[in-house]
């Protein structure tokens, strides 16, 4: 397995493409516009250079350009006919994700496994969009992908053992370990994390403490390396909101109601680190 399709070149797609290319995989990176793809390549390059500067270069001694040369981009999905494994990382919205799968189901070879990189969307439901539900599984990568070596591997209702094994092989190629969990909204990680972040946003909204103090309590009192609100900024406030909305709709439980302040910030274009302003300024 050495040619990997990566759909969506946002925060996750960029991190994944970089990590894969650094480990010798050929990457086929897709997004909806040339500008987004150019921007993604620029950011990946910046990241590779920062890593080099900080002394975390790949042992292979390759140049930044050699690594970048393994990433091929396209705004159409057709080139995925060459892919041997696909990871989809488009926006956390069902209406966007659902358009992708029937297309790649036609374009990709029959033996190709599709990994959904999602924060909360049902893997089983995604599987139902294809004629290969046994080959659809979830891989919940952590952000930033090149720095986080354990992922949640999610088994949908129809996902086969064989597909899980293929995914494990793929992951071991770039030193990722996985924890297998069953398909349920938010899996393990985000069912807890999103609720925590949402509640932290309520604390700010209700004037209990400001964002810096909320985070300070998690860092200084609980020993977390990062507070929930800086974490939210890193993930992207839009992605947080969409994930909380998915949880709310999936469980039909009011405990997942999205915090109005979070909604307002997303509407105002405050998306966190990726565009310079969230709960904190970057």
């Amino acid at each position: 397995m050495d040619i990997i399709g990566v759909i969506g070149a946002g925060v996750m797609g960029q991190g994944l493409a970089q990590d894969l290319a650094q480990h010798g995989y050929q990457v086929l990176l897709n997004d909806i516009s040339e500008e987004i793809l150019d921007d993604a390549k620029r950011r990946i390059k910046q990241n590779l250079r920062a890593q080099r500067m900080l002394g975390n270069t790949s042992e292979s001694g390759e140049t930044t350009d050699q690594i970048m040369a393994r990433i091929t981009t396209s705004t159409t999905l057709d080139f995925l006919s060459d892919a041997q494994f696909v990871v989809e990382n488009v926006t956390e919205k069902w209406d966007i994700k659902k358009e992708i799968y029937p297309q790649i189901d036609k374009i990709c070879r029959d033996d190709v496994v599709f990994a959904v990189n999602t924060s909360a969307i049902s893997i089983t439901k995604v599987g139902s969009l294809t004629n290969r539900p046994e080959k659809v599984l979830g891989i919940h990568f952590m952000n930033p992908v090149p720095m986080k070596n354990t992922v949640e591997l999610i088994q949908g209702y129809h996902t086969s053992e064989e597909s899980l094994e293929t995914a494990r092989q793929f992951l071991s190629g770039f030193n990722k370990e996985s924890v297998l969990v069953n398909d349920a909204p938010g899996f393990v990680s985000n069912r807890v994390l999103m609720l925590t972040i949402n509640e932290a946003a309520y604390l700010v909204q209700d004037g209990v403490a400001d964002a810096a103090d909320v985070d300070k309590i998690f860092i200084n009192c609980f020993g977390h390396t990062m507070g929930p609100l800086a974490t939210a900024d890193l993930i992207g406030l839009d992605t947080i909101l969409y994930s909380v909305e998915v949880l709310y709709e999936s469980f039909n439980d009011s405990k997942y109601r999205p915090c109005p302040l979070l909604k307002k910030m997303v509407d105002a274009g405050l998306h966190g680190c990726k565009n310079g302003q969230g709960f904190f300024k970057y």
Binding site: Q46, A50, R52, M53, L54, Y282
Partner: protein, 81 residues
Amino acid sequence: MEETKIQIKDFFSRFFDVDNLADDIDIFANGYVNSLFAMQLISWIEKEFSVAVEDDDLQLTNFNSVNAITGFIERKSSIVA
């Protein structure tokens, strides 16, 4: 040279408090900065001073203090000039 130092500190101040920052303090070793900063620093130097940072330049010793960055920019600019 002094002007370069002011520009650098001005850039640093977007990330951390530079009030008492000595020009030779190692900002990486002293926990002032993270990799997000490293990314932005390289791009900023390239844009602000119109120099190209090559793979071989990407060594911490070129960028770890106000003095190091000033020296790097001077070496790079004089090659072009």
